[in-house]
Symmetry: C3
Subunit: 677 residues, 3 copies
């Protein structure tokens, strides 16, 4: 019976993007050690794969010599996929230049602070180099001209995981000085903003402006990092503009944005301004890689999804890449691949695409395995993907275009990220941000990400602001206004500390926001064996890390004091009523347990409800029919029993009705999806 | 009553150097984010600050373009300080070159073994470069010409924390070869002295002499290090000579010497020959930075002071820089800033000057905080400084020009330092020297530092010689003579091992000094789980580290044997009578507890008395009135009760009489100063 | 009586190589700080030293300027040694170039991926550089012409510890491309074999072939490493050819091969193809350095000997260098130097030569001590050498030319070594090989080494194949054939994984050998807290490290399953009957205890007998008289009692008869040598 339904479902034609859940893989015909195309497509069809991404890494195959083109691989894959009813996303191949180009114009390879890049790896070019731009534009146009009418193509990916790759040669330096001229107009402004009198760094002629490579000035380096992020934004917009000349109206343009990397997708990417760069795109794409096996928590899936969704203001997004088997320590346990796939959907993804179809037999990523191992035979991971593909196909009408509405947001800032990371502590911006994100995740409080370009602060009951190290007065005043309007804000230590030029404020700290936080400090220390007095949040474990500001309340009430012989009279956490809202200020980095307890307190203050707790993860949204969808995930190795807290609905995978308040059992690494009418 | 006295004291005019204790800060008008001068001076006056150091880091402000001068900041500070009765030390700005100079003459930036330096940080230049010298001389003369008559100036600092900064380009190499020619005359002498036959390094033409940068020859590298130290000596003498053309007779010339750095001032500086370099100066200056909070022991204050005092043969010295708030992990506990200030005086300092007045808002040292935080508001550290300034002012007649006379000395050697550090062990020369220094410190045995240029060996009852790895026969014979004359010497392992060319001696070890030590060895091993047999010094913890020489006594008596299955018949510590004195030889590096016990034994042998023990530190000297001053410090977090061991006197801070043998209580981090008539 | 015998023995003239055990030292007259030759020779004679190696490091002394020659040191040493009846091995001095050559032709210094080498250390040259070759050939010919008739010389060492020293400049790159052309003929073959389509690395013109320095392609890098090993083979053959023009028929040509280094001689040298390079030589030479004192196990002596012996197909070899005192942590305990010397003989060495005679007084190796310390006086190590020399001389007829015949072999591969080391794990090829070697050593199972060039597989009952990561189909089929013929083979994880081009196989894993292993896998994971189910080998400690292949048997029986909640149904160790033999496959890296237990199981399966166990080590061979020699070693600090398991024979050191099954006591670090008639 179920089988029949499935078969029927498969016959429904979901030919264009936006009408079905996409289940895909990256596919490299160029890398195959022998003729595989038909066999691969048959295996894809068996797994209900309905989209592949191609061509983004293989410029040298597509243009083997200067102005000699060979689109054989593209053509045969497009034709074969189309024949099989599988859609294709075509990537521009510009993030990996061919050897002949690097030989002809060695300056195509970026000059970095550590010397000029060598040919070999990808992402080694100067994205501002005119020769690079000339040849990149030419290959893009050649490919687009060639494929633009192909019916298999549903969209384009411009470049891949684009960054400025530390390009910092003389031409980039020159452009940076031009940028400074435009932004600051006079050298006096630059000297003052950046404090260049320090250590004889004052510059009196634009021509003398020294390379940033040797700079020790945090303001200069932060401005250069911002300039480099601007190069990425400009580069992607430039590519998107070219592609837009060719693409059909129903086709989309996306990119494959990646998060900052710590062996896996970890946090805010400090080399790209995702919100700005995404403006030139139609839809956000993201790659998400995460720990697995007993370390699988779903956090990075949730985080990457929340970020990608927030890039385009809450619109659904594409998971351009995520792990199938991945590294040896990522090979999923039985059930985990399913759990992961539906977790992506629960964040608002309309596509889940694995990197990649089949494991590679040469070069650098032979241990980053695809759905298939090197032997191309079915394996437990592939076999599990078959069930996912079938469920995606069957449940597409129910699960596509999940609309999310969250009451909480994390406020991040690229400027703060760069500035925080440069002041010398071993822990970085994301090490402050993540524990707050993770605490909310464990408590099942859904979040969006917002940044200084966002104009929707007021839609959130709670905004959490980690380590807003660098920010303009105007921005801080906007955040003050949010509180005055009735919002609840949570600041951590270091917020408001310096202005947009990474000039430490000389007004009382925390600068500008202290009107709202109702406290001040001018001394800070490094905590050693310090806790909170009298366990004020009931955390039992009151670990304090990284930093410790010696807070004195003005109008705020003190939620917690430090437990320290010398500094026990200073406040550690304060809360202040301001206008219609409140501001909580945390003068230190809490350990994970304490962090969650503080966030629980703040969520309650902000009036945010939440149900269940990790390892039971629940995500909610509204589908296109206007029905509420509740995802329930068991992120653990043991069965979990829960009282189903939401309204009665239908569990979509099993087709069974789930009554409110009934007892539900989730097997290890299990998922349930309940639709309420 | 006390208040009245204070006021009276303040009215005494102490206008010129040498007549009052100096309490100061480094002051950078150039770095201020807004007009602060009058307000800053008012706050300085409130803290009884009577001296500021200016101008040493800001060449680019003083000469913003080639031959364009702007002394506004210098002038306004000099005038304002003078008006306020605050003295000024003017620094030459040569340790940080302007961008225009580095652009005009890129060779100004030193070529090091790791490539050419970039513009950005300070201390990146080739101090031998003719362009650098030309422009450095010109800015020095311009400034001096401009300020020489200003009444506020009490002295000049030439350059700052000067070193050779690893300069090793072709011009330096050429100069080094000229130096070798002059020193060794023939290449045969060089080949033999340095053992250049080894690995085909023999040189047969001066023009072929290869760059030291690639050398693996310890002798060559040590000679080059000595040559580089010579560059520093020459450079400072050159600057001092220029300044001396302008300065008034009552003004002094100093430098700000720094110790070797290990996150704080740690030991002998191997890049500068302090004793040689100080000859061109009128008074020694030093910067001393040290751990704080629960890690504050006073050791580095004592060490830096003993070194600085010894640079000019026991004369009082200036603490040009020390921490106020400093790093976040240095923010002082209540009371510690006072304790530190008086500890400096107890070593013979005539000035204590903080780096720096106010925390910096940009660039690289925003977390190296001054007396004021970034908000310029009073804070606990500043408030404590107020009490120090008041006491300095009031007690200046009693405490100025403390004359110290110690019975013990540490013999150090720059040559040994370099040579020891290059032979491949992870622990360095200072890691051997410090535990011996620290042991004497904890036992309240005051020490001077002496080096191969010293001619006053005989004034000490005890000379401790750590790791004298490289030394000429003549030097060792002078040390032998010291013992023969009645001195007691303590040698550690590795002493006498190689000659002045870092050629290991082929005579029995320890070379030349074995006449005096009465022992020999020709095998050495690395200790693993070895102790001393039968706990000979009552240390209980007989930890042996780093190295282990298998000693055999000839005429010496054995104080300790190794506790080892195979090498238990070898001596570990020997003592030998020689002439009127004795020599103790320690064949290994003792752990800290054992080290102190051995030094206690040696002090007793040398007839040196000592009172109290860490955390109770006591320092003694004679003031200008010829009275003995006893400082008592409590370097701990708990109250300490002691029986006052010295003659009856007056405690200067409280004005109370302290009777000999009476019980005294020192609060945590407290200080008492007793003057005996 | 014994004395008389000794004297008699010493009178036997053993003047030419091959007729006596050689006991030697490296001797550097050039390095002596004063005239020592006669005194040194007297001390050598006292120690029965009968050979010295000279001249291999001192080109700059021999040719102090371009075409100026000075063979004084060579001549006087040759003459003096000859007079004393001590033989000489002359080394060509080419591994350390003189300063004048590096100055004249800077390109003599190799350009490496990290920049061009500097003058200073040895082994810094480009061994392919034409200038280097010209001057190297000239000095070789000059020396050979000069000494060729000298009667003291028994052989020549060409160069020293030769490698390619990472030479990778444009000329080397060019030669590499020529090599590729010859090997692969077409670029298409290269592109396919190396998978260059990946990341746009495809090359379409030979001129575009990019430098390997920047490559991320494991296949390219492995091929380049193989090419570099080929440079070493060619270079040594080139030198040997030159020397062969001069040498007399009875003289030999050797080299001083070194193992891979991990603070001591550790494993297979991945920079040299020892088997190929040794073909140009008459006899294999090796240097062996090893931990000592309580860490002395004899393993490296055994390993280095087995490797050296295997280089020339089982022929006796020369230990060109081994430690006398060595580093401070190597200074031998009493008895250890003797134990070591006889351990070398037990492996088949005909010479044991110390590096070096006397400790060096300058430069880089002053802490790598010789038989004599820096003082040239007798010391415990030298005194022990006297007894060794005497015993060598006395027992030479019994112990020379030991013939070894082992039943087991370790199969290693330079290609697998390189390939394994490049795939990203922290543990390396030798970290897999060594524990298997060490287990066999501890069990007293003698082994030979074989590699892909060996044609004698069938002579072994057991072949152990660690991590044969890269291998051609043909090689794997030869190994399959070995099993079919009746051999027993043991494969570890990763064997057969990729082909000779480091292309991962797309056939089921383990590729090609799975016909024989009777299992397959296509998933692998990183073990965390995994063991083996039910302790199948009785190891108690079932530690699993590094890697974990999820094996499924086809025809094999399962010897062990993983003890893991998710993967407990996968096999960990399998054994398969194939033809007349069996194949054991280990899907993971066992801990040392488990490794030995598995090897015990495999030895039993292969029908290999073994006696005693570490610390009692026994080695066996046949002497020239056809008698069996049993060495018994006690590698421990405590006396060991054993039942002598072999036939009755005479213990050569004591002259006493040892009866089969009698009880024998070996003192700590003791050796006994029993000859059976």
């Amino acid at each position: 019976m179920k089988k029949l339904l499935l078969t029927a479902c498969c016959l429904i034609s979901l030919s264009s993007f936006g009408q079905k859940l996409l289940f895909g893989v990256a596919y490299y015909d160029e890398y195959m050690p022998y003729e595989r195309l038909d066999k691969d497509i048959a295996m894809m069809k068996a797994a209900h794969i309905n989209v592949v991404r191609i061509a983004e890494s293989t410029w040298a195959t597509e243009e083997p010599s200067d102005s000699v083109y060979n689109f054989t691989h593209i053509d045969r894959v497009l034709d074969a996929m189309h024949k099989a009813g599988i859609s294709v996303i075509v990537g521009t191949p510009t993030y990996a230049v061919p050897a002949w180009l690097a030989k002809k114009y060695p300056d195509v390879l970026a000059a970095t602070p550590w010397g000029q890049n060598q040919f070999g790896p990808r992402q080694n070019m100067d994205i501002t180099n005119p020769h690079y731009r000339y040849y990149a534009e030419r290959i893009i146009r050649k490919i687009l001209e060639h494929v633009k009418d192909h019916p298999a193509i549903i969209g384009y990916q411009v470049d891949n995981e684009t960054k400025a790759y530390n390009t910092a040669g003389p031409n980039v330096q020159k452009a940076f000085v031009e940028y400074l001229k435009k932004k600051f107009v006079t050298l006096d402004s630059v000297n003052n903003a950046f404090g260049l009198n320090y250590w004889s760094n004052r510059v009196s002629a634009w021509d003398d402006f020294p390379s940033v490579n040797g700079s020790v000035n945090a303001s200069v380096k932060a401005e250069f990092a911002k300039f480099q992020r601007g190069l990425v934004t400009e580069f992607l917009a430039w590519q998107a503009k070219i592609v837009r000349e060719y693409k059909r109206p129903e086709q989309f343009i996306t990119q494959n944005f990646d998060l900052s990397w710590k062996g896996y997708s970890y946090g805010i990417q400090d080399e790209v301004d995702h919100f700005a760069a995404a403006r030139a795109l139609d839809i956000a794409g993201v790659d998400i890689y995460h720990p697995s096996q007993h370390q699988l928590t779903g956090t990075e899936i949730s985080l990457g999804g929340d970020l990608a969704r927030s890039m385009k203001g809450g619109k659904n997004y594409l998971v351009m890449e995520t792990e199938a088997q991945g590294f040896a320590n990522w090979t999923p346990y039985p059930g985990q691949l399913r759990l992961q796939a539906f977790s992506h959907l629960a964040g608002g993804a309309d596509m889940v695409s694995y990197w990649h179809w089949a494991s590679i037999h040469n070069s650098a990523e032979t241990y980053w395995k695809g759905l298939l191992s090197h032997d191309f035979a079915p394996n437990p991971t592939y076999n599990e993907a078959i069930t996912i593909g079938a469920d995606f196909e069957r449940l597409s009408p129910n699960l596509l275009h999940l609309h999310k509405k969250n009451e909480a947001a994390i406020f991040f800032s690229n400027e703060a990220n760069t500035a925080y990371n440069s002041w010398g502590t071993p822990e970085k911006y994301n090490d402050v941000m993540r524990p707050f994100y993770d605490a909310l995740y464990r408590m099942n409080i859904g979040v969006d990400f917002i940044d200084p370009s966002s104009d929707n602060f007021d839609q959130y009951k709670l905004i959490v602001v980690p380590a807003l190290y660098a920010a303009s007065d105007a921005l801080l005043q906007r955040l003050n206004q949010y509180v005055e309007n009735g919002g609840h804000i949570v600041y951590t230590f270091k917020s408001g500390f310096s202005n947009e030029n990474v000039q430490v404020r000389y007004t009382p700290q925390p600068g500008v926001i202290n009107a709202v936080t109702g406290n001040y400090y001018n001394e800070f220390v490094v905590p050693e064996h310090v806790g909170l007095k009298n366990d004020p949040f009931g955390a039992k474990d009151n670990e304090i890390k990284y930093w410790m500001e010696l807070l004195t309340p003005t109008t705020a009430k003190v939620l917690a004091y430090y437990d320290h012989a010398q500094w026990g009279n200073y406040a550690a956490v304060t809360r202040n009523q301001y206008g219609k809202g409140t501001a909580t200020y945390i003068g230190f980095m809490p350990g994970n347990i304490l962090c969650e307890k503080i966030m629980e307190n703040c969520a309650k203050e902000a009036g945010i409800d939440h149900q269940l707790h990790f390892p039971l993860i629940t995500k909610t949204g509204t589908n296109t029919a206007g029905h509420t969808i509740h995802y329930l995930f068991n992120y653990s190795d043991t069965s979990q029993t829960l009282i189903y807290p939401y309204e009665t609905g239908k569990e979509l995978l099993s087709g069974k009705t789930v009554l409110q308040k009934s007892s539900l059992v989730l097997a290890p690494w299990d998922v349930k999806i309940i639709e309420n009418n």
